[in-house]
């Protein structure tokens, strides 16, 4: 019997659907045309323009400062929240807690943006990087908590009990058993938080203040008067950096396991 071609066709189509846009983006970053999608020869115009645009780099810097601090804080808060929810899930207080944590996942972004802005204005916090940070932590914590909670659901607590039996303190059992075993969930949550923070537009738009324009805000505003192809160049560079980081980390990992 001949093997069906169906799976390979589907695989190729899915791969094309996922990666073709990225390939087109990379190709277009070398195309000097601003409006047409026709190929007008290889050029580094957009890269040159990109390096002459301090506003874009300021936006990249803002975005990264926010994303890194948001990821750190929301991972800590989210993991702690998930642990509390799992351990004491039956209590009434934790049910309320669960609803609160779940809320940012279902509330429409625009509502969250406007309400956060009004809250900041009412309390008198000056708008800027700090308010964006607070807003992002608000929803990123929920995502981290949900991811870690998933991991906790099939966690075998008898391992911890065994450690305690053998004389480990609470701190030791947490640090050496619980956290390492939760690590895949925590890392997945951290990556999710980082990504969400980097590309959030709606909420950020409302809570941003003078001098805190992030990359998504900058890109949207460039559609009207600016030169969006610069963004193709920037994305290509970011892609190169991410790929290098992944390849390097894989290399390091295989070397470690080899020795």
């Amino acid at each position: 019997m001949r093997r069906s071609r169906f799976p390979i066709v589907i695989t190729v189509m899915v791969m094309a659907f996922l990666y073709l846009p990225i390939v087109i983006l990379i190709a277009n970053s070398f195309n000097p045309a601003r409006f047409s999608s026709r190929w007008e020869g290889f050029s580094l115009t957009w890269y040159a323009k990109l390096f002459q645009s301090p506003e874009i780099w300021a936006a990249v810097k803002n975005t990264l400062i926010i994303a890194v601090s948001v990821t750190t804080v929301s991972v800590i808060l989210g993991t702690a929240a998930a642990y509390a929810l799992h351990r004491f899930g039956a209590s009434r207080l934790q049910r309320i807690h669960y609803t609160l944590i779940y809320q940012p996942l279902v509330v429409p972004e625009i509502l969250m943006g406007i309400s956060l802005l009004m809250a900041f204005v009412a309390v008198g916090v000056p708008l800027g990087l700090f308010t964006i940070f607070l807003a992002h932590v608000t929803f990123c914590t929920s995502y981290v908590a949900m991811t870690v909670l998933g991991r906790l659901q099939d966690f075998d607590f008898s391992v911890i009990e065994a450690a305690r039996d053998l004389g480990a303190s609470t701190w030791q059992s947490t640090r050496k058993i619980l956290i390492p075993m939760l690590m895949p969930g925590i890392v997945a949550g951290a990556l999710l938080a980082f990504t969400l923070s980097v590309d959030d537009f709606v909420i950020t738009f409302f809570v941003a203040g003078p001098g805190s324009t992030t990359l998504p805000l900058r890109i949207y505003s460039m559609i009207k008067y600016g030169a969006p192809p610069m963004i193709n160049a920037l994305s290509t560079l970011l892609l190169a950096v991410t790929l290098t980081a992944i390849i390097l980390s894989q290399r390091l990992a295989t070397r470690k396991s080899g020795t």
Binding site: S36, P180, G211, T242
Partner: protein, 370 residues
Amino acid sequence: MGSCPVDFRENLSVELPADLNYNGPSETPMKRFLVAALAVVASVSCGKAKPSLSVYTWSDYIKPGLIRRFEREQGCRVVMDTFESNEAMYAKLRAGATGYDLLTPSSYMVSLMHAQGLVRRLDRALLPNLVHIDPEYLEIAIDKTMDHSVPYMITNTGIAYLEGRVKDVVPSWRMFGRTDLRGRMTMFNDMRETIGAALKCLGHSINSTSEAELAEAETLLIEWKKNLAKFDNEQYKIGLASGEFLLVHAWSGDVFQVRRENPGVRFFIPEEGTIISCDDLVIPTDAREAALAHAFIDFLLDPAVAAENTAFIYYLCPNKDSYPLLPAEIRDNPGIFLEPGIRAKSEMIADIGAANALYIRVWDRLKASR
């Protein structure tokens, strides 16, 4: 990218045994948190020594070199932030966002913001360069006395087409009725602009509140719609550059940017008259650096600065003393400097208050028609 978390997990599961051998408490997460928090606080509070002017505007709307010159002259810092629509900016300010010292909304938005007390009255003593503003422009402006706003950049609505692909061009709005261009034309997805074009074509004011005139415009638009590929404000530039669309409803500033790429693009202002739009400089009521904002407005009104700015962004700063300083390419362009006859028939979009409901009704019926 989908495989990314898996890679990290592999990496970590290998690293963990090494980690377990490590004795002594670690405060890495806490330390990291503190560093991050410090970074956030530091970047918010630094730069307070120099006065800093926060400008909230469209992207790439001021020549960057001019900002640096102003910073040097005034010993200050200019912080630029950008918005992408009048409505989004307005929603944000209405909800209470503060901290901006200078805004550049379009004229219709300025009158709305003025009515709600969001912009402050200008101090004319701080703006000696106001004398350079083109009085001909002020005649059609909404804030004719420059009480709370100063015109920054104007753009004219017109029609762009590809030379050689469109035959027998007549400089009129009636071009949208040409059935031989069916499916290759676009009009703006903008209620006031598109209904305004039809009103102008029929010889009415673009701010008409007469139901009969609007009904006439509606019939004409429904006829035109059969020939249109779509209503669009942004993609038409790409479509025109690549030859997908042959004739489009367009803003002058956009067209001259497209022309740099496709020299076959031509632009005309219909003889029936058109819509002139303007973005104004205004200072919000709660601005902290009002004096510096006035200084910046005055700087932009300097004829030499205005000419440099116009030549860079292809919109026209209505500054009469800057006109002789402009390159001939811009000075002799009838798409930028309207012919007097056409200019006399052109208008700006005014806030028509309750009559807006009439326009919305026409627009809804047009969108629903087949």
